[in-house]
Symmetry: C2
Subunit: 199 residues, 2 copies
DNA sequence: TACCCGTGTTGTCAACGCCTACATATCCGC
DNA sequence: GCGGATATGTAGGCGTTGACAACACGGGTA
């Protein structure tokens, strides 16, 4: 098949990926509630029934988007922790700042990630979320081992830090804080966090 | 009109309130996405077009629910602060614990309150949200005045505390933490918060 | 070659939000 | 209390959606 002829070969080739990409774009510009399977099908150039093969229900597609989001968020935090000034507090600040930037660049996606509607069995989304937590948890474990933080449940303290940044981002997302203030608020919050968990 | 005859007087009497009540129930049992205006109309016993008089668009009803939620949350926090052991730290713990309980008893509502889709002009929902913040902000202001907390922007510190609890509740809501752990996590978070903001 | 099965198409259904035209009740100035 | 203005509810309809089923295509393999 000639790749230059984009017109309608019967089989799309990689419909699943194409749908996810279109969905990501639609999510970004119109929000999850406005996202329509039939719209995506039109955009990608397939019939309205085709998406069903890859996402039997609409929620399956939303879950895939959320999972993807967690993977990217985790990777981004991981990179932020690894690069730059190796000072511990600086790395924590970079990690949370990376989170905040991700949140502002992917507002609707973050809301989707925070939605309660994921598949109940859900080894999918929750699992990918835990992977995104890992770099923060690792950082806190390291801080405790190096006696920079007081001892305590590493996982619980990591969750609290994650929740704080996520909560601030949520407040920006629904218009209760201006976006420009987020960076500063995160900085203050992390400052307080480090003082509060100091040995 | 005989009040005992519940059947179909042409005018309902207080349709707006009846719709909100039915919506609250539907929200609780099926979530905001499943909430249907026509369903509510059926439940209340009016025609499918009637709700439009009180909520021209579906989002208007969701906003009203969110606003109502903020009012109740604020009131609840206010009461928690006022009653019981007057020790400062104890009052902060009670305030946040009240928040956590509200969150667990109104999961779908909290998600709605955190949604980004409120009316843009929005002197409605954001305003009512700020009212809900007030008791926390007041508490922090008092702490600073009594030299129990280090000085700093009262509003910003209040927002951070609110965001932390809200973030933890969100993690419970989407299944990343077990609900039973919330109380303990909030307690730890508030502990850290008080240490982090100590003078 | 012949078959199989993953993938895409077509047609259908019930439900929804939103709209308009119309009906009925309630309120307010006379 | 009368009568029109206004608020509130009804009836019907339009276009869109998600989900479903029956069918069409075509690449991979025995």
């Amino acid at each position: 098949m000639s790749e230059q002829n984009e017109q309608r070969r019967y089989h799309h080739g990689d419909l699943r990926a194409a749908l996810l990409e279109a969905a990501e774009h639609s999510l970004r510009s119109h929000g999850a509630a406005q996202l329509s399977l039939r719209d995506l099908a039109r955009e990608v150039g397939v019939s309205h029934g085709a998406p069903r093969r890859h996402f039997p229900e609409r929620q399956d597609l939303l879950d895939a988007l959320a999972e993807n989001g967690y993977a990217r968020l985790g990777e981004r935090i991981r990179r932020a922790v690894a690069s730059g000034d190796p000072d511990f507090a600086a790395r924590v600040q970079r990690a949370t700042s990376a989170f905040a930037h991700f949140a502002m660049e992917n507002r609707a996606l973050l809301e989707l990630m925070n939605a309660a509607k994921h598949r109940p069995e859900g080894t999918g989304v929750p699992r990918s979320a835990e992977v995104a937590f890992e770099p923060l948890v690792d950082l806190i474990r390291e801080g405790q081992e190096r006696r920079l933080l007081r001892v305590g449940s590493v996982e619980e303290i990591g969750i609290i830090l994650y929740a704080t940044i996520n909560g601030l981002a949520t407040l920006v997302n629904n218009g209760l804080i201006d976006a420009e203030r987020l960076e500063e608020l995160v900085e203050i919050a992390v400052d307080q966090f480090l003082r509060g968990t100091a040995p």
